[in-house]
Symmetry: C2
DNA sequence: AGTATAAACTAACACCCGTAGTTTGGCAAG
DNA sequence: CTTGCCAAACTACGGGTGTTAGTTTATACT
């Protein structure tokens, strides 16, 4: 018994992501991944080119998942409500899939069109959500960078155990979101709902 | 020729940090480290317990360096001026020592008293800088977490090449700092210089 | 001068990623 | 139903890594 075990590039990426979620601190090893798939290590090379390529594939998978979640969170909402929903959706992603979130955080290679596409999708969602605030072009870039920095920084520190004090993390995150909304609505007072 | 080459735990940590700064994306290898020190790999084990322990040592070194820089930046300043100086000192640290900054970002082990001590030193500096704004105890925690999240998130994304748009990064960072200051001074209007 | 100690070494093991070449199962055409 | 092709699994192996054990040797202290 052996050949035709039914591996797929997608199934490999998926179980690798699950393994990373179970213990985000350990670094991925093809040997353990093959073990969990009931297969010998070299068999993986029928579906992936290298460990590094697999890591990139996981990053793409994570970026797409994140884009999906952010997009869903913004459906049917606008203004501050949409902003809050998107911020919390990002945090939920990092909390629910810590290993995948960490793996997604890689420097994109120059020719990585797929990863860049996913990153661009996220960028477009944020631009759409910020539209009602009618910022100037330059301000919009600053605002998007600020949003990403705040949310990403918070969840990264939270995930790394960087927040030791016994104060509720949800409250702190809401404080951060409020800070952002105050800044982005400081010009316009037309923020809805 | 050989014995008494003059290794030290500190010298090992230092050259390891330098190597990481030269290429923050590569992962540290004892073999290459030994090569750069003019020594065989096992010789390192006379000074360190394991690769993981060395990584922790580097993290401690980075945290102390960061605490020093933040402390220096805050000397002789107060209020908004101190806040701005500390934020930029953090960013300078991440820009000047990218590998060390990345290595510092590890989940602290429970019994890591030295790393926790360095983290506590940073916490105290931030508390001192926030003193003049007279926040409530809970608000102060939120404000500290927000500051760390914003600055850390920005430099992490910047370092990872996450900001693609052709807009000045310094301006974006200043926008972020302004956002924070607006929030933290929203109660008190007594902010100085 | 002589000895103890600790810092370097060599040798060896286990584990990892990755390649080469071999076996084998399933699908498609005759 | 048979036959042949192809791709997915395999075994075997090489080069690299972290780590341990045991050996040599330079330095520091008596």
């Amino acid at each position: 018994m052996s050949p035709r075990r039914g591996l797929t590039r997608e199934s490999i990426v998926k179980t690798a992501s699950d393994l990373l979620d179970q213990d985000p601190s350990r670094d991925l090893t093809l040997a353990e991944l093959a073990r969990h798939l009931g297969v010998r290590t070299p068999s993986l090379y029928n579906h992936i080119g290298s460990l590094d390529e697999l890591r990139q594939e996981i990053a793409i998978y994570g970026a797409r998942e994140l884009a999906d979640r952010l997009g869903s969170a913004a459906i049917g909402r606008s203004g501050e409500t949409a902003l809050v929903a998107v911020a919390w959706a990002y945090r939920d992603f990092a909390v629910n899939r810590p290993g995948l979130h960490l793996a997604t955080q890689r420097a994109p290679e120059p020719g990585q069109t797929e990863l860049n596409a996913a990153a661009h999708a996220i960028l477009e969602i944020l631009m759409r959500v910020l539209e009602p605030f009618e910022l100037s072009e330059k301000e919009q870039i600053h605002a998007i960078r600020a949003l990403r920095a705040m949310v990403h920084g918070f969840v990264s520190l939270e995930q790394a155990g960087g927040f030791g004090m016994p104060v509720d993390l949800d409250e702190s995150f809401q404080y951060l979101v409020d800070t952002y909304i105050a800044q982005v609505t400081s010009g316009t007072r037309s923020a809805l709902s």
